[in-house]
Symmetry: C2
Subunit: 118 residues, 2 copies
DNA sequence: GTTCGACTTCGAGCGAGGTCGAACTAAATC
DNA sequence: GATTTAGTTCGACCTCGCTCGAAGTCGAAC
């Protein structure tokens, strides 16, 4: 079991941010100790990592919440979750493509400066 | 010469956003007509496109402003601008790398769902 | 000469995603 | 039993990047 501090360090988040995620409903799976402290299992940790992955690829908090709610709901939602991931995958691929194009523009700009045509 | 509306359409921005960019100092090069309307040359248009490229790759408004101020300042700032572009290029490459890793995680997740281990 | 449409400035408001601090609690150490 | 450390809640605040609306101006068409 991991404390909020440990999860924060592993996932490069602040404990504040993790509590914020919890408040927003992203962590419906997190258990508490007797004294009310959040406690994360290995499975929970993996889910937090997934949250980071989705967040860092631009999925809004609200949509991540939907996904996590479905995870808690159980295997009946597996197909819907899969479809969500597939849709998000497409979106990420699109973003990377745009990135590539912009990287190209930046490279051209650098070449301009290198050939002195600035 | 292009009107604000035309630039907006070409660059997929709203006229509001372009005025906001101007207010923030991103467009120190923009000329005005007698009656005070903004008017963009082809060179200006290219700079607006560059602004979009930098913005879409995560460069903050304030840093874009610095760059544009240097553009207006003239060729004396060329080396500094080049260094800025090189630094940004690195940052974009880093982002793309992170993207790739995250795409991989998403792909694994999809595979999990496909093999029924959800 | 008035009406229209596209522009102008200005300042307020908004949504997303945190970020922070105050006040409190619980368990562990001295 | 007092202190320290790590956690808790709650609500206020912050930054970024817009977004919008009100009120006004200008030039062209009718």
């Amino acid at each position: 079991m991991y404390s909020i501090q440990e999860v924060a360090q592993i996932c490069d988040l602040s404990p504040h941010t993790i509590r914020y995620y919890d408040k927003e409903g992203l962590l419906p799976f997190v258990a508490r100790t007797k004294s009310g402290n959040r406690t994360f299992s290995d499975t929970d940790l993996e889910l937090v990592k997934l949250i980071c992955c989705l967040k860092n690829t631009g999925m809004p908090i609200k949509e991540i919440k939907k996904y996590m709610d479905m995870v808690v709901e159980g295997s009946g939602t597996a197909e819907e979750r899969k479809q969500m991931m597939i849709a998000h995958r497409r979106e990420v691929a699109r973003q990377m493509d745009e990135m590539r194009k912009n990287l190209n523009i930046i490279d051209l700009k650098i070449k301009f400066y290198e050939t002195g045509r600035h």
